[in-house]
């Protein structure tokens, strides 16, 4: 929710003293730069105060806990005018045309003098770089034909002020260190678990955004992330990994030792099953994408193509640019991106935030309603027909903001039970005369190409695939396959959805770096899905028996 000046007065938005110093410097500097011949019309400082604790265990032993505390900062100075500024794309630019953006460190003790000097130096550097780039932008516009999208480079946004109390880390290090060690020791009972790892990252952060429009945000967050992995090498050389990530906002939300042991043991069993599984053949067949796989499928295939900056870039494929108001999915499907949502089905959503990295309040955006494309995810860089931000401008510190996904929610208004969905799958297999279809249960991630110089294709990488036989043979786990396809064809294949929902939490890497995201979806039945052989390693498994299993 956007907090305007009327709703939240300056007193509520002060925050720690060092944040006040940032505000004062931004005001002083922006005032000065607005008077220059090439004026800076927008100055923004973001700071990230991060306390981090990392615990790692493997095979029953731990590394010494690692702790750190940093206050990294990032400055944006826009030179020119909102209609045309230095960030405008330079078309056909050579490699390394732009000097890389960078972050810098602020004193962790809040020292006023050092804070002011650091902001001054970084802003001065950024302003001079921006001045030079604006010269190139103007020349590029003169040399090149007009862009297809003549939208301005920056849009206005209401001032936002919101200051929340800091959160700390509240974790018993000794207890968790022992717990991770005990759970990780379970691997020692399994000869075929060649490597394994459990880590717990506890991060208490405060994201601060102050800018020349008066926006003043102090946004704390605590995150506890458990990552577990087990690895082996199959007889054919494939390096296999089963991976789990558990996200929590408080230590109490983390699993108990018994629950964690169950997760780990289940992973070991899945790894063993994968190791013995046959390798998939390239084919097309009907398939059910279970919730997490369906979620990643939508993140890659739809999510990246509804990010607004791709609609204004003439080098992008712009699959959906001219399809607003048109049906792109079955009428029973809705797609929403809602960063304001904190959890779904009791699971924390990694893509939650209240304000984006341009100081705009996060908004729930109905991207697809009843199968019809309605909207894009926008930052403050406008596109034709979508002149303002809906709070999706995001970045990793040190990168330029672009529009990104937060919590992508795939929903169906007409659903069936999982059993019914399976029956529908079998019916599809038989009606197409195929010997088998697939159930894709879990995935490790995926990627997609959205530009014009590469095929507009996607790849989703499953951990394992279940082959479902038409003749009633038992389901069979297979491995070594990737799901591939192109977006418009893939969406035309969605036939039905389950009444269950699964959540994928992860990090998405794109032009503006890595940002935390989630995607959640029901199981989906697709009439046809193509699989190709996945890449694999080639090493023989270890030549000697696993220690402890020599006999």
């Amino acid at each position: 929710m956007l907090l305007s000046l009327g709703l939240s007065g300056p007193a509520a938005a002060q925050g720690p003293a060092w944040v006040q110093v940032l505000s004062e410097e931004v005001n002083r500097i922006s005032g000065e730069l607005s008077e220059r011949p090439d004026p800076a019309y927008w100055v923004n400082v973001a700071a990230y105060d991060v306390e981090r604790l990392r615990l790692v265990a493997a095979n029953g032993v731990t590394i010494t806990p690692e702790r750190s505390h940093t206050r990294e900062a990032d400055v944006d100075v826009r030179v020119g005018s909102p209609a045309l500024d230095h960030t405008h794309k330079i078309r056909d630019a050579g490699w390394f045309e732009d000097e890389p953006k960078d972050t810098f460190f602020l004193p962790v003790d809040g020292d006023e003098r050092a804070t002011r000097l650091a902001i001054w130096r970084a802003t001065d550097d950024a302003y001079r770089q921006a001045q030079k780039r604006l010269l190139k932008v103007r020349a590029n516009l003169a040399v090149k034909v007009a862009s297809e999208d003549a939208s301005p480079d920056f849009s206005s946004a209401p001032m936002a002020q919101d200051s929340r109390p800091a959160v700390g880390l509240d974790l018993s290090v000794t207890e968790w260190r022992s717990r991770l060690a005990r759970v990780s020791a379970l691997s020692l009972a399994h000869a075929d678990v060649h490597e394994s790892n459990i880590s717990l990252d506890a991060v208490a952060s405060t994201r601060v955004i102050v800018n020349s429009e008066g926006t003043h945000l102090v946004l704390p967050r605590a995150v506890y992330v458990l990552n577990l992995s087990v690895n082996t090498t199959a007889e054919d050389g494939a390096a296999l990994q089963v991976y789990e990530s558990i996200l929590a906002s408080t230590p109490e939300e983390l699993p108990t030792e018994a629950a964690l042991s169950t997760v780990f043991t289940d992973m070991v069993e899945r790894l063993a099953a994968l190791r013995d599984a046959p390798v998939a053949e390239p084919t097309t067949a009907p398939a059910i994408l279970r919730g997490r796989a369906a979620a990643v499928f939508f993140h890659e295939v739809l999510g990246h193509r509804i990010e607004s900056h791709r609609q204004r870039d003439d080098d992008e494929g712009q699959t959906f640019k001219d399809m607003v108001g048109e049906s792109i999915l079955p009428a029973f499907m809705n797609v929403t991106d809602d960063p304001t949502m904190m959890s779904r089905e009791g699971i924390r959503l990694h893509g939650h935030y209240s304000y984006d990295d341009e100081g705009v309040a996060a908004q729930r955006v109905e991207v697809v309603k009843d199968g019809v494309l309605r909207n894009f995810l926008t930052s403050r860089t406008p596109i034709e027909g979508f002149p303002s931000s809906n709070g999706h401008g995001r970045r990793q510190p040190g990168y330029m903001v672009v529009s990104r996904q937060g919590n992508l929610l795939i929903e169906a208004t007409k659903t069936v039970s999982e059993d019914t969905l399976r029956r529908k799958l079998l019916a599809q297999i038989r009606s197409q005369g195929k010997p088998y279809g697939f159930i894709i249960d879990d995935i490790t991630g995926g990627f997609t190409f959205t530009g014009r110089s590469t095929p507009n294709a996607f790849v989703v990488k499953p951990v394992g695939i279940v082959r479902v036989w038409a003749d009633g043979r038992p389901d069979e786990l297979i491995r070594g396959a990737d799901l591939i396809g192109t977006p418009l064809v893939a969406f035309s294949q969605v036939l039905a959805a389950s009444n269950t929902v699964s959540v994928f939490n992860g990090y998405c890497g794109a032009e503006s770096g890595y940002v935390p995201v989630s995607a959640s979806a029901p199981d989906l039945l697709l009439g046809e899905l193509e699989i190709q052989r996945g890449d694999k390693a080639h090493d023989r498994p270890p030549l000697l028996p696993t220690p402890g299993f020599e006999q």
Partner: protein, 559 residues
Amino acid sequence: MISLWLMGLAWAGEPDALETAIHTEVQRALEGLALPDQPRAHHISVMVGDAQTSEVWAADGALTMSDSSQPRFMRVDVRVGTPEVDSGNFQAAFGRRQGMVLRGLGREDQDLALRRDVWMALDQAYKGATETYAAKQAARRGRDLRYTADFAPAAPVQSDRPAPVESDSADLKLKVLALSDAVAGEPGLEVNQVGGYAGGYHSFLYDTAGTRLWQDTSELVIRATVQAKAGDGSTLFNHRSWVAKDMAGLPPTDDMVAELQDAAGWLRQLQAVAPEAEYLGPVLFAPEASAELFRQLLQPQICGTPPMESAPENASQDARPIPTSRIGRRLLPSGWRVIDDSQQNPELMGAMTHDYEGVATRAVTVIEDGVLRDVLMSRTPRADRTKSTGHARGMAADRFEAMPTQVNIAPRRPRSWTRLKRQALSMAKSAGLSHVLIVKRLSPPSMEENIEFSVTGDEPMAGLTTPTEVVKLHADGREEPVRGLRFVGADRRTLRDIVAAGRTNSPVQMLDVPGGSDRFGWGWFEGLGVSWSVPAVLVDEMELHSRAGGEARVITRPE
């Protein structure tokens, strides 16, 4: 070589869990690691290092980062083939795995957990070594070259496990903050950055020849930069570094503060000086700068580990040349002597009894009467030197190569500083110059701002890092700051152009790495301890060009 390994059973003291776990897995590897029609391992070494590190950064008088960690690393080296021809000393294709594996380890000594780590590392290293061996054989095929053996023999050594060294970090934060604060309010200075690092290392080396060697080292490094803008927008840098084994080896904080204030004061003087266009003439190196001069130019000449072989270049199909030894050739003026003796001062950086390959470090007179007589060696032989002198060291996953420990350079007929200056002025006059340049400080490679230098390696276009404190000495004794000059074309031949020298000064402690193009790519706190005791020197003729330029600030500095 099981027979050699059996000697290891007689090592000193009772084996602990770490030794036992390594021993068990290396024995299994020797007996069982084999692939059809491929050579087996002839030498395996496992090095485990327990580190205790603290790092502190401050800028403008305030703390920006403070971190401490206790990592444990294991390095496994597997050499397949025979000592005459094995998988070592060969640079396989980019990205190709080799016979060395570096991985992190858990801190607790639990037998089965340790054995799993050693087992996996040995398996990976053996497979990598096998493919590297084949690549080396393929690269040699059809080339009519004489090759020396790949691995020199060395007697196994054993030692008891000493008590771990604690890193000396208690006062690190205070010192770093005191330094940063001391120049934080200086008018005209844009920024200061001070970094401190304290590290204690406790390492265990195990090999199949019977070596069971525990060694401890420590280091304490504080570096500081100060930065300002000249009137024309040029960015001006200066720096100070202090390197020692522990806090007791550093000067008192007040002295360090005074040194850094001097560095800042120097920048203020430079701000009022126009950049110098060029200089060609005699150059006098004051003691601090002279230590950098010798470290940068002489180190590659006295280290004998030959470069790694590699596959023929695609274009020429020529082998990478292996330089012939310069032994017997002049490197310094006649009468000069250079000795590397790791035991000159046990309290200083570079002091060691054994190197990273477990070989006892011996004193080596590398230069006698100005002529290169011997070189420092690792266990990688060369045509004219087949035994290690115990100088092998290296960073992380790099090959261990010979590098100096504690170097002492003694000139013939040392002169006083006053006489050196007088001689320098006389030479300048003969060259038609009204002044002579005195270089008081050169950037350490790890703090070098000149990227061109960093990329080009140990014999680059510049040849020396940027001189940060240079003065013109006039005939009337007046010294005038000079800014914006950098060396051009300095190389080992510069050392032969030394015409006079002062007395050998107190050792300058530094961090360094073995020679090669990546010698200048390391960070402020990375490197291995060395000490150089050198005289001030006067060089007959050197060339320096202007590299000034930059942009002035446009935003008013905050009050």
